[in-house]
């Protein structure tokens, strides 16, 4: 689960001399939210996002209609892009959670993936969500059950042995500290080829653990 497995290789890219009108149309037509700007040899020169394409209304207010036209038509990507030194990027052998952390801390929605100054891919929020989706085996049918358990060593083992005692297989499993109950831990398990009732029957027997959500999906 590294960036290289989830990034989009060969992203669509632009060059600095591209007129801003064309960049905007290109991004709009293909529903792109980020456009890395590269020079020769795919070296990263900057990044264009939808925000960078917004023109400051204050600036336009001081211009008359004819000036606005010439001002806009003369703009190129180079004039508005985030310069390469300000672009926060990552490399392909970083773990996916590390990349997610970089994005959360900087409140940005994409990271160009760079190797030796060259763009090899891009990873975006969508890729992260895709990864979350896959991690929880969203595309497979099964029963998803959430169990609240004390934050004590050995609790997960109890749950897993209860499941394996029934001969069931675990499709996906994840855990987080319970958001609203300090000292507790919430574990989500997805099991297939079983009914909701069987699971409730089997797992409600575990001492100290509580089923807080069961759904078939």
């Amino acid at each position: 689960m590294l960036v290289r497995d989830y990034m989009t290789r060969h992203p669509m890219m632009g060059e600095p001399t591209m007129p801003i009108v064309e960049a905007q149309r290109y991004m709009w037509e293909h529903n792109l939210r980020h456009l890395p700007i590269v020079g020769d040899g795919k070296r990263l020169l900057g990044l264009v996002t939808r925000q960078t394409l917004l023109v400051d209304p204050g600036r336009l207010a001081s211009l008359d209609v004819w000036e606005i036209t010439s001002y806009l038509s003369g703009l190129t990507v180079k004039d508005v892009m985030v310069q390469a030194q300000d672009v926060i990027s990552t490399s392909s052998d970083v773990t996916i959670e590390e990349a997610a952390r970089t994005m959360v801390e900087n409140r940005i929605s994409c990271l160009p993936v760079i190797e030796a100054g060259v763009v090899v891919g891009i990873i975006t929020e969508t890729d992260m969500l895709c990864q979350l989706m896959e991690l929880m085996a969203t595309r497979a049918h099964g029963v998803r059950v959430t169990i609240q358990m004390p934050d004590v060593k050995g609790e997960l083992a109890k749950l897993v042995s209860a499941i394996s005692a029934q001969g069931w297989g675990i499709l996906a499993c994840g855990g987080v500290p319970a958001p609203k109950a300090p000292g507790k831990w919430e574990t989500v398990v997805k099991i297939r080829n079983v009914s909701k009732d069987d699971i409730v029957a089997a797992l409600s027997q575990i001492e100290g653990q509580e089923i807080i959500d069961v759904r078939e999906m």
Binding site: M12, E15, H30, N31, G41, A116, V120, V160, L171
Partner: protein
């Protein structure tokens, strides 16, 4: 817990409950095709006005997909590729349509803009690796240049990256290869270097124009494996251009079939091969021999006529003059590309009828091959070659004196040919198959061995042979361009052997030539034509006509159909069969295409490094027990059927030098089956193997016991 998770996923195939990622709006950016060609038209400016080389070609290549364009020579497939990289030459121009690369139009931009726009995101690999490499620069320098010049990477880091890339293309000893010149490595390795060079830029699209056509089947198989592996590793979309239906079936996901400058059918590889809906595609599938077909049980249907010149296209459907289903409407109205079923497009008025089987191709053309079989009942031996040796002297490396060295091109080969039979000789290039044939015909003088032809000794060069002997032994060469004299008319070239051998009285020569031309399906109007006025297939027919004019007993064919397109190849093979039937000629047939050999020959000899390793009837060669080398050849041969599953056997290394052939069994350095013998096949390195007889006619030159060889599975299986 972790383990059970993995196990569960492994048990659960995509069909087993996983919902595929749909056209989720969030996934949109991934769905923009890497390449989208829309109604492309390309013309070349000539003295006679613009020649439309490509018209109305549309297709899309998705991310990470392998798209093949298949068609015969001159159909415009390379022009399509060149128009994508704007490499059309000074007189070529895109006259209509769009080429969208990652959603941006490449048409109508200046060179400089294009260079920026495309950047290093499209790479191309050409047919001949030696033309893509600079012979005067070391491989390391050429590779590193890509990185140092385009990307400004430092020399030493660039070299490290190049070595890493050479490892990715499975180049043995990459650090050493970096220091060599292109001519110091083999053809397959050169092609690997070219592929590595193309991938150094990490392109989104890799265009490969006939990348394996110049390579041997075993090398070709390894290169195709490599391409498939790299495609997944680098997530690169591949556009593959080939005339070889077998190669296309092996590598592609989607196929576009081109004919006379336009695309006539496009669909997934399975649909194109198994459910063709355009008459041309149907014709192509019917004219290639599939592995396992033989001449007694099946027939190749050639496509009649020839490809129209782009300057002189028929008014209606371009395929109408050659089409078996043509109706009046085809002559009047040119069909549009229409979707016969989802994702399956064809350019034919009757595509739906063909697909549903309402229109069947005619079967009546099958000639009666029974007569041929009866005539062939003769058991008389025409040619006997025993322990033949042909050595070439190689200069010794010392300045003065030194021992003479010999390239043992043919070493201890014995074959027999019966009257009216066809012997096929197969093997990689450099295995000595051509030398053997040239020695028999007298173009090379033998170093040793017995050569007996109808009781006469023929171990002398052709200049010492009597005219009668020369008349009985004739040859058809691979390249018809090189064998016909460009300044003599067809009639005089065919007439020459007739006059020289006095086969017919002088005043009847012309009539006889016309008769032979008719037999060749050429007709009298070809009598006065010059070779340059003929197509490739017609030239080869003249070559055959000249060889058979004197009614020889034995015709030696050295790759007679390799230079020809498949539809023409079928016609030439049929012709050779008819000649054989008509005249009862004995034939030796060299080819590297194992399907063709299986189809055409009665007996097959498999050669490796100057020796025959397996000899027997055609059907016995293609079924277990195999010689390990035959097995490897069969597993490498590209089969024009996407359902075919082959055992994966790839020979490591290249063919050893014939100057110093390996001791013991010559194949032991590359043999994948040696380990079946006790103590790792030590015996193979020391002792030459014995001839083991499977049946009276089928013998195998190997140490491995026949019982072990018999237990192996068949190499090729077709999944229904």
């Amino acid at each position: 817990m972790h383990e059970s998770h993995i196990q569960d996923n492994a048990q659960m195939g995509p069909s087993d409950g996983w919902i595929p990622l749909g056209k989720d709006p969030l996934q949109q950016p991934r769905d923009v095709p890497v390449l989208s060609v829309e109604r492309l038209a390309v013309s070349y400016e000539t003295r006679y006005g613009d020649v439309p080389a490509v018209r109305d070609v549309s297709f899309t290549v998705q991310r990470g997909e392998a798209y093949s364009i298949v068609g015969e020579s001159g159909c415009g497939k390379s022009t399509v590729a060149f128009s994508i990289v704007s490499f059309l030459g000074r007189n070529g121009k895109i006259v209509d349509g769009h080429v969208l690369f990652q959603g941006r139009d490449l048409v109508g931009h200046s060179e400089e803009e294009l260079r920026k726009l495309r950047g290093d995101r499209i790479s191309m690999v050409y047919q001949d690796p030696m033309q893509a490499l600079n012979p005067s620069l070391r491989i390391g320098e050429q590779l590193a240049e890509v990185l140092t010049v385009h990307r400004g990477i430092g020399q030493s880091e660039a070299e490290d990256r190049c070595i890493h890339m050479l490892e990715q293309v499975h180049m043995p000893d990459p650090a050493n290869v970096m220091r060599r010149y292109p001519h110091q490595i083999s053809g397959g390795q050169q092609q690997r270097v070219v592929i590595a060079m193309a991938l150094l830029n990490d392109p989104a699209l890799l265009i490969m124009d006939e990348p394996t056509t110049a390579l041997d089947v075993t090398v070709e198989a390894a290169v195709l494996d490599l391409v498939a592996e790299l495609q997944h590793k680098f997530d690169t979309a591949i556009m593959y251009i080939s005339h070889n239906l077998g190669v296309v079936a092996r590598v592609s996901d989607q196929v576009g079939v081109m004919y006379a400058g336009t695309m006539v059918e496009r669909a997934s590889v399975n649909d194109v091969y198994l459910r063709p809906s355009h008459p041309y595609t149907l014709g192509l599938m019917r004219c290639v021999p599939r592995l396992g077909m033989d001449k007694a049980a099946s027939y190749l249907y050639p496509i009649r006529g020839r490809v129209p010149s782009p300057r002189n296209l028929p008014p209606g459907c371009i395929f109408e003059p050659r089409c078996d289903f043509a109706r009046p409407v085809c002559r009047q109205k040119s069909p549009e590309m229409c979707e016969v079923e989802p994702e399956h497009w064809a350019r034919c008025h009757f595509a739906a009828e063909i697909l549903s089987g309402k229109l069947e191709p005619p079967q009546d053309a099958v000639p009666d091959l029974q007569a041929l079989a009866e005539r062939r009942a003769s058991d008389e031996t025409v040619l006997r070659v025993a322990r033949a040796k042909t050595y070439y002297e190689a200069p010794s490396k010392q300045l003065i004196g030194g021992e003479k060295q010999y390239v043992k091109a043919v070493d201890d080969v014995s074959v027999e040919m019966k009257r009216g039979h066809t012997l096929g000789i197969v093997g990689e290039s450099g295995c000595g198959k051509s030398t053997l044939v040239k020695t028999i015909i007298g173009l090379e003088s033998p170093t040793g061995g017995e050569f007996e032809f109808m009781g006469m000794d023929i171990s002398m060069p052709v200049s010492k042979r009597s005219l009668d002997l020369i008349k009985e032994l004739q040859m058809v060469f691979q390249n018809p361009d090189a064998t016909l004299n460009p300044s003599f008319s067809v009639g005089s070239q065919i007439g020459r052997p007739l006059r020289r051998f006095k086969a017919v009285p002088a005043h009847q020569v012309r009539d006889e030539v016309v008769r032979i031309l008719d037999l060749m399906r050429l007709g009298e109007n070809y009598y006065n034509r010059l070779p340059r006025q003929l197509s490739g297939g017609e030239k080869q027919r003249v070559g055959i006509a000249r060889a058979i004019a004197g009614r020889p007993e034995l015709v030696l064919c050295d790759e007679p159909v390799s230079a020809l397109d498949v539809s023409v190849q079928a016609a030439v093979l049929n012709l050779l069969l008819e000649v054989q039937q008509e005249m009862g000629t004995t034939m030796a047939f060299i080819a590297h295409d194992l399907s063709v050999v299986r189809f055409f020959c009665d007996t097959i000899a498999v050669m490796y490094l100057g020796q025959i390793v397996e000899f027997g009837p055609a059907e016995a060669i293609y079924a277990p027990p195999y010689h390990p080398y035959t097995e490897a050849l069969l597993s490498a041969v590209p089969i024009p059927d996407p359902r075919a599953a082959q055992k994966h056997i790839r020979l490591s290394g290249s063919v050893p030098s014939a100057l110093h052939p390996p001791s013991g069994c010559r194949f032991h350095t590359r043999c994948p089956r040696r380990l079946l013998l006790p103590d790792g096949g030590q015996i193979c390195t020391v002792e030459p193997p014995p001839w083991q007889r499977n049946t009276d006619e089928h013998r195998i030159f190997c140490h491995i016991p026949l019982d072990t060889l018999r237990q192996m599975d068949a190499v090729v299986t077709i999944q229904e």
